[in-house]
């Protein structure tokens, strides 16, 4: 396994820029996810690393080896890069058995019959496919085809493993289990993985770091926890986790209590308790006065207070939905409808008056 380095990678299709000035270092043994909405350029980036086409600008290194550098006319084909890849469609060859699918990369590398048998056998047992070895792909379930594709990518001991939405065609239960297994295999073999997904839960569950992308550009690079707790911008806050987004103008920020006051309409200001980071690094409150902002409040960061206070706002319960571990309420306030997730044991009636505390709020300048 080796690290992967991407320096200012740009990929254009004609005049359309699918990936723009993308830089990232994936360390040896690290699990990095590319996360973003459909069409943001994740696949393009992954396929640039795999080498299915030359990039337009920038440089890609696998370990110490430069594998793409248009400036110096360097471009190794995918067969020269020693990278493993699992496709969204699995791309298991329909005319070969499971065994032959997995053995193919080794045959191309001219390993002896014996070595092939041992190595394939090891992969088959790791993926619980021993009993399926002689079957054709059409006789396999989706999950087994997926494992076959994974086995084929692993057997060649690649320098890094690239996965393009590998779990998106599986049903929910299987998806959860495969996430878990994938993570375990990665730890055991110390794999370097670049993993593409549009599913934030998936990215959260498996990654050491997440690269959040939008329209071909990096929005934030952070560990899952960091990205959830401290989104770098409005896009990040919206894409990761469930949030209320409220627009307004800042009246003032009280740095001591870490409270921002938002002008909701003519004669109402609303207190928002800022997340640590926003409160802490914001000493210059004057310049932000009168600034239009988006305030982002996670559903679970809205608390129900017992009574009115200086840091509460008033609201009316519209509808509640019981969801097992928590209950979700929609509450009408001066800020509009706010969604709240509470412990399941808090029971509110429809039309009931409540007081809300808005905590850990992130504010991002708008306009």
């Amino acid at each position: 396994m080796a690290k992967l380095v991407l320096e200012n990678v740009t990929k254009q299709y004609g005049v359309f820029t699918a990936v723009k000035d993308f830089s990232l270092v994936v360390s040896d043994g690290e699990f990095v996810s590319l996360l973003g909405p459909s069409g943001c350029g994740k696949t393009t980036l992954l396929r640039s690393i795999a080498g299915f086409f030359p990039i337009t600008q920038g440089r890609i290194l696998s370990g110490e080896k430069v594998i793409s550098d248009p400036a110096r006319n360097i471009y190794l084909g995918p067969d020269q890069r020693n990278l493993g890849m699992v496709f969204q469609s699995y791309a298991v060859w329909p005319h070969m058995s499971v065994f032959d699918n997995i053995a193919y990369p080794l045959k191309l590398r001219k390993l002896s019959r014996q070595d092939i048998d041992t190595k394939v056998g090891r992969v088959l047992s790791m993926l619980n496919l021993e009993t399926q070895a002689q079957k054709k792909p059409s006789e396999l379930s989706g999950g087994q085809q997926q494992r076959t594709a994974l086995g084929r990518a692993l057997v060649m001991e690649p320098d890094a493993l690239l996965l393009d939405e590998p779990l998106s065609n599986l049903d929910a239960k299987l998806r959860d289990r495969m996430r878990f297994e994938l993570k375990e295999i990665q730890r055991t073999l110390n794999l370097t993985i670049v993993y593409v997904t549009h599913d934030q839960d998936e990215a959260m569950a498996v990654s050491d770091r997440i690269v959040l992308m939008n329209q071909g550009q990096v929005q934030q690079v952070a560990s899952p926890r960091e990205m959830f707790d401290f989104p770098a911008n409005l896009f990040s806050a919206r894409f990761v986790g469930q949030s209320n987004v409220v627009d307004g103008v800042l009246e003032k920020i009280d740095a001591v209590s870490g409270t921002a006051y938002l002008i909701a309409d003519e004669d109402t200001t609303v207190p928002l308790q800022l997340s640590e980071r926003h409160a802490g690094d914001d000493t210059d409150t004057d310049t932000r006065k009168g600034q239009p902002v988006h305030a982002v409040i996670r559903y679970h960061n809205v608390k129900i207070a017992d009574r009115a206070d200086t840091d509460t706002i008033e609201g009316t319960v519209i509808v509640g939905t019981y969801l097992g571990i928590y209950t979700q309420y929609e509450i009408e306030t001066v800020l509009g409808r706010i969604i709240v997730q509470t412990d399941a044991d808090i029971r509110l009636q429809e039309q009931q008056q409540v007081f809300l505390k808005l905590r850990n709020v992130h504010v991002f300048p708008s306009g």
Binding site: A50, G51, F52, F53, G77, P78, D79, Q80, R81, N82, L83, G84, M85, F87, Q88, S89, Y90, A91, V92, W93, P94, H95, Y104, P105, L108, R109, K136, P137, S138, Q145, A149, R152, M156
Partner: protein
């Protein structure tokens, strides 16, 4: 508890009765149309004067001419299959997977020979490469040769035109498979370390094998079943194949057992076709060749770089040679005052078209063929809807048998059906006389083409979720009402394409018609074929031009109509 129960009992009885009636009607119709003629064929091959015998088979194989015709058919079939399949593979790959110029245009233009009736295609090639053909005359004059240099009649000519007629079908099948294959299977091999050559050898060819195999089988069966092309390109060079040999026996070899010999030859030909069908089954069976699971829309086009222009030019030249050149040859012939005069403006004339328009036989054959081409698809579509409806209801006994009966003629060469029809109807049956009338053509066409609407109607009905019909029933519509208001509107795509699939070949059918035609009941195909045989070259050319214009413009019109229809939202959810 439920007052409706007693009523329900009598309803069930009523339904059983109507199901029984309709089953009897269906089986009677299928029996008369399909089973009766085919059984006459078998009987004729295995009997002489009412007694069971293998004498016909020994007689067939004792006559070297018959054996040679069988051998010629096989030999031609294999040659055409190999050449047409290779051409289709290469063209598919270029058009689907590379950045050749004009991909979309080629995708359409390359299949044009498929729309042109094969006997017209053959005739057009005689106008290019025949003894007085343009190419021959040109080369002869250029080098002042004593003889025309190119001899087209015989094996070479049959193969040439058969390849041109059959490769489009293989092209359609193979290019569709290539599109479905997507690029992921190849990319997975590349990233495993396979070179371009290894990708083609280990992945592309094996994955395409089922498509290529079944396309090849269809090409083979089509070639050995074809009549028009060997009759025009082979017979003048004494190159006789099974179909033309059968035609000879039916048409007049003086042999007391001529008809028995013809049916026996037909049985052997049927054997070729059945072997083909078995092979076809083998290639399309899932157990033998896994189908492609990981379907992906994305296709990376290979950049041909410095080969882009040469390859584009080569494909364009090929298209020109197989599409434009022959059509140009008949168009030119149809406009020239007389054969052999130089092409100058004053030698051009529309006289041949005028003469054609005044020939009563031409007018008659247009009427006959258009009636056949409108009514036969209509009847077969209605039949297919009824059969499928009864089958879907699940109350008709032995309903799966109907499928087998109806799909039988799919494997049966047209000339064999023609022979069977003669045997079945040559004498009045229960004093119903259809032979020597136009009705024999209707019967034969229905038998021949029934399979197309059965396939398309069946396929689109299968996609229809039965809950749609159940919703109609629960809303209070009767079964027939549901059929009219729900099912038929929703399967109109299958109905329309089934109708068209019959309309086109019915309009210019030759093989069946040539055996069954009678005076005053001529079809377009027969009239044109006879003109060509009689050496009325300029008039025949004018006729061929007219037919081609009609066929091509109808194709364009229907294409435009169906494009508009396809813009409507799909009937069934597609996954």
């Amino acid at each position: 508890m439920n007052p409706a129960i007693p009523r329900k009992g009598c309803l069930v009885k009523h339904v059983r009765f109507s199901a029984w009636i309709s089953s009897v009607a269906v089986y009677f119709a299928l029996g008369v149309l399909f089973l009766y003629p085919m059984s006459r064929l078998v009987i004729s091959a295995f009997t002489r004067e009412g007694a069971f015998t293998f004498a016909n088979f020994t007689a067939v194989f004792a006559n070297p001419s018959n054996v040679r015709s069988l051998w010629n058919s096989l030999y031609t079939g294999v040659t055409v299959t190999v050449i047409a399949t290779v051409i289709a593979l290469v063209l598919s790959w270029i058009v689907v997977r590379t950045n050749v110029y004009g991909r979309k245009l080629f995708q359409f233009v390359l299949v044009i020979p498929f729309f042109i009736p094969p006997f017209i295609m053959a005739f057009a090639w005689t106008r290019l490469l025949g003894r007085a053909g343009f190419v021959n005359v040109f080369v002869q004059q250029l080098f002042s040769l004593p003889q025309p240099p190119i001899r087209i009649f015989g094996f070479v000519g049959v193969v040439l035109v058969s390849v041109i007629y059959t490769y489009p079908y293989a092209f359609i099948v193979i290019s569709r498979a290539m599109e479905n294959m997507g690029a992921h299977l190849e990319e997975a091999a590349q990233i495993s370390g396979a070179s371009r050559f290894q990708v083609v050898r280990d992945i592309v060819l094996p994955v395409l094998l089922p498509a290529v195999g079944s396309a090849a089988v269809i090409v083979f069966v089509t070639t050995v079943s074809m009549f028009g092309i060997p009759a025009i390109m082979g017979t003048p060079g004494q190159f006789i194949v099974v179909t033309t040999r059968i035609y000879g026996y039916v048409g007049g070899f003086r042999d007391p057992f001529g008809m028995n010999i013809a049916t026996t030859l037909a049985m052997v030909l049927l054997g070729f076709a059945l072997v083909g069908l078995l092979l076809q089954n083998f290639f399309t069976r899932k157990e033998n060749f896994a189908t492609i699971t990981g379907k992906s829309g994305h296709l990376e086009l290979m950049n041909l770089r410095k080969w882009r222009i040469p390859i584009s030019v080569a494909v364009a030249l090929f298209t020109g040679a197989v599409v434009v050149l022959p059509l140009f040859a008949i168009a030119a012939t149809s406009l020239i005052r007389a054969l052999g005069v130089p092409f100058t403006l004053e030698n051009l004339t529309l006289d041949h078209f005028r003469r054609l328009a005044n020939m009563s036989i031409v007018q008659r054959s247009f009427n006959n063929s258009f009636s056949l081409a409108v009514f036969v698809p209509t009847i077969t579509v209605i039949g297919a809807v009824i059969l499928t409806f009864l089958k879907r209801q699940g109350r008709m006994p032995g309903r799966n048998g109907t499928d087998y009966i109806v799909s039988m003629p799919y494997a049966v060469p047209g000339i064999v059906i023609g022979v069977a029809m003669i045997l079945a109807w040559i004498r009045p049956v229960f004093s119903i006389r259809v032979f020597n009338t136009i009705w024999i053509l209707y019967l034969a066409y229905i038998v021949r083409f029934m399979i197309f609407p059965m396939r398309t109607v069946g396929a689109s009905w299968k996609q229809l979720d039965s809950s749609l019909e159940e919703a109609g029933r629960i809303s209070g519509a009767s079964e027939l009402r549901t059929l009219r208001d729900v099912s038929i509107p929703l399967i109109r795509g299958g109905i329309g394409s089934g109708w068209l699939l019959v309309f086109m070949p019915a309009l210019t059918e030759l093989t069946l018609s040539i055996l069954l035609v009678s005076p005053r009941n001529e079809t377009i195909g027969v009239t044109a074929f006879n003109m060509m045989q009689e050496g009325l070259i300029t008039v025949a050319s004018a006729y061929a031009v007219m037919i081609t214009i009609v066929v091509v413009s109808l194709n364009v019109v229907f294409r435009l109509l169906s494009v508009r229809r396809d813009r409507r939202p799909a009937n069934a959810p597609t996954i």
